[in-house]
Subunit: 158 residues, 2 copies
């Protein structure tokens, strides 16, 4: 990354301008996650899914009959924010809202046949994506990474 204005040369040209920030795991994680998120979004675009709609679909298929509040808790998404996600998946015919007979306030979420089919397709896409981004790492490194992220989350949730 050479510069065309060397007269006003500054540190940005010689060392990483974000050197101090690179010392923070939080910053490194943000940069990493942004890249992962953008790459995954590109790959899920063909299925018209985003990380969040993909996640919701997976949980509904894996836990047919769960309520919206349970889905929200599982994904750590505020209930209001989940409404549009469920709306979208329902309008696309991937999941259904059905009244819970024992509690008329609640809706049980169940996948449709199309939802289950997309589940398998999308899972393959995301599995391939994972394999790609983890290609440079050993199983042991991935294990350590996963454990470390869990530990950090626990500390941050305090």
């Amino acid at each position: 990354m050479t510069s065309h204005h060397d007269i006003t040369a500054n540190a940005a040209d010689t060392v990483q301008a974000d050197h101090t920030l690179r010392g923070f795991i939080g910053y490194v994680m943000k940069r990493c996650f942004n890249s992962v998120q953008a790459d995954l979004a590109r790959e899920l675009e063909a299925l018209d899914l985003r990380m969040l709609t993909f996640s919701a679909l997976i949980v509904v298929v894996d836990n047919a009959g769960l309520r919206q509040s349970e889905l929200a808790q599982a994904l750590s998404v505020e209930r209001p924010n989940l409404v549009v996600i469920v709306d979208e998946l329902e309008k696309r015919g991937l999941i259904k809202r059905t009244q819970v007979p024992t509690d008329r306030r609640a809706y049980a979420l169940t996948p449709t046949a199309a939802g289950k089919e997309l589940y398998h397709t999308a899972l393959k896409v995301v599995q391939d994506h994972e394999a790609k981004i983890l290609a440079g790492l050993t199983d042991e490194q991935v294990r350590t990474l996963r454990d470390a992220l869990k530990s950090i989350q626990k500390s941050a949730d305090g």
Copy 2:
């Protein structure tokens, strides 16, 4: 997490409802980063900084005189999105925009005395935050984590 509606018991009560997603590092990273980001935001609130404004301030102090386009590149933020960040820091008297004599299109960003002071204060806050979230990990685990995140980002950036 016991349920009050065991009649309609489902998997969400017994195993983690997001079990499949937990198998993906991308999902684990998202959940972890959300927690870290929220916690850091709380701690930076006292200084009226966010992760992004903090990051911009750090880079400007460390690289006095760099241009907005260089700051954008350093932080991997699109140029239009950086304008409001720089505006905010400038209005608060933390940095200054000064014309570059050799290129009248460009602005050089330099920190004020107040900016340099906040730099040190904020750095301490974030360093303490880092220590907190990394408390459960050994230096070796943190090293592996950092290397793994860098490797993943590189793969994702393709």
